[in-house]
């Protein structure tokens, strides 16, 4: 084989693959016309390309069984993944419950506590805020106070509520004068004003604490 032909051979392969531009193809064909060996080589490569093309065009076999096996594996993996998550979630829940249980055991027995609270009662239409400092002892009152924005204020000189005593909350309007009369310090300029408040009534029907909501001027 001539050195020149050796160089042509590589390009003839590309020619047989259909990867050669028109100009170069003309040049290659001109060589093939005068070189019998290269013509044979090109023919062989073209035959190979034709066979490869036929091979690539072959249809795929029916592979339903493979698909079924692959999807079954997917289902198994998904089930394992879910059970792993359930296990992790279960462990996390167990840890959380353990922590809560330990914390609850550490917590002292809940008793009525003495609290100091500052409550601002807005006068209507616009007046100075009223500060009332009171002790609140009852657990229920304290819990409700946490839920609401203001705590219940114990009515002075009343018997403290028992720890688990049931109470009722009644909403009513109370004259400022009445509040002053039971011992609250209400520095309101209008003694005839009315305070809308929630009143905590004990089982014996007596008012034990109040939670002021708003105050309105005398009618």
């Amino acid at each position: 084989m001539l050195t020149e032909c050796r160089e042509y051979r590589e390009r003839l392969i590309e020619l047989a693959r259909g990867a050669v531009a028109a100009d170069e193809r003309r040049a290659l064909m001109a060589h093939v016309d005068v070189c019998a060996e290269c013509a044979q080589a090109l023919e062989g490569q073209l035959a190979l390309s034709a066979a490869l093309e036929s091979m690539a065009a072959e249809g795929l076999p029916e592979m339903a069984a493979i698909e079924a096996r692959v999807l079954a594996e997917f289902d198994r993996a998904a089930a394992r993944r879910v059970s792993r998550w359930v296990l992790v979630a279960g462990l996390a829940a167990a840890v959380c419950l353990g922590v809560v249980w330990v914390e609850r055991r550490r917590e002292p027995v809940e008793r009525p506590r003495v609290g100091v609270t500052t409550v601002a009662v807005q006068t209507a239409p616009a007046s100075r805020p009223v500060s009332v400092v009171q002790r609140v002892r009852h657990k229920m009152a304290r819990r409700q106070a946490n839920e609401e924005s203001q705590p219940f204020l114990e009515i002075p000189y009343t018997v403290p509520l028992a720890p688990e005593e049931q109470t009722t909350v009644v909403r009513m309007e109370i004259p400022v004068a009445a509040l002053i009369a039971v011992g609250f310090s209400v520095p309101a300029s209008d003694a005839g004003a009315v305070v809308e408040a929630e009143v905590l009534v004990s089982q014996d029907g007596r008012a034990r604490a109040i939670r002021p909501i708003s105050i309105s001027a005398s009618r």
Partner: protein, 210 residues
């Protein structure tokens, strides 16, 4: 001229083969959904990529049963390692092709100790005369089956080049990326492989004549 007429058949592939495939964007979404446990998404992915993976394995092994097993292994591997696919490093077909390559390689390494060495016909010969008969012979169906076996018997590096560039019609650039080698290396391997294949058939025809 006869050769010019034959050439016209292959011209239509020249542009398509070298322009590169468009990125399959839906693959990323499907893969994400499949990672979240979406069976439908996985089935869609499987059906979209099964043909290419199977064909690759089939051309590499020359055996449908082995190809089916390798294809199954590729997708089972994907079920368990979806996070191994990095969309920034390439598209999913190339990734699955890489997995299939490794599995084919591993399987053939395991099997090689049991396979008789029958590559003598691949050795270079004095190439005079047989090509015209080859043209007629290769067009026959049984010769396609023989070609498949001949490809399966090629050394792996040559076989990969033929399968990727000629049978799966990937550009040299795509094949080089998948094989992790230079573009020129892929081209020279492919040329070598094609020469070996032509010589193998040439030798076969000469043997039949005798």
């Amino acid at each position: 001229m006869k050769i010019s007429g034959t050439l016209a058949r292959f011209e239509r592939n020249s542009v398509e083969r070298h322009m590169g495939e468009p990125e399959r964007r839906p693959d990323r979404d499907l893969l994400r959904q499949f990672c979240d446990g979406d069976r439908e998404a996985f089935t869609t992915l499987y059906r979209a990529h099964f043909p290419a993976v199977f064909r690759f394995a089939f051309y590499m092994t020359g055996d449908r049963i082995r190809a089916g097993e390798i294809t199954q292994d590729v997708f089972v591997w994907l079920v368990h390692h979806p996070s191994e696919f990095d969309a920034d490093r390439g598209d999913l077909p190339a990734f699955l092709g890489g997995v299939a390559r490794k599995l084919v390689h591993r399987r053939q390494q395991n099997e090689s100790r049991w396979r008789p060495l029958d590559d003598a016909a691949l050795l270079p010969r004095d190439g005079r005369g047989g090509d015209r008969e080859l043209v007629r012979g290769l067009e026959r169906r049984q010769d396609v089956a023989e070609l498949r076996q001949a490809i399966a018997a090629l050394p792996e590096r040559y076989r990969e080049a033929v399968v990727l560039c000629d049978l799966q019609e990937k550009s040299y650039q795509q094949a080089a990326r998948e094989l992790g080698c230079a573009l020129g290396t892929v081209r020279s391997r492919l040329h070598r492989a094609r020469e070996l294949l032509v010589r193998k058939f040439q030798g076969k025809k000469e043997g039949q004549k005798c």
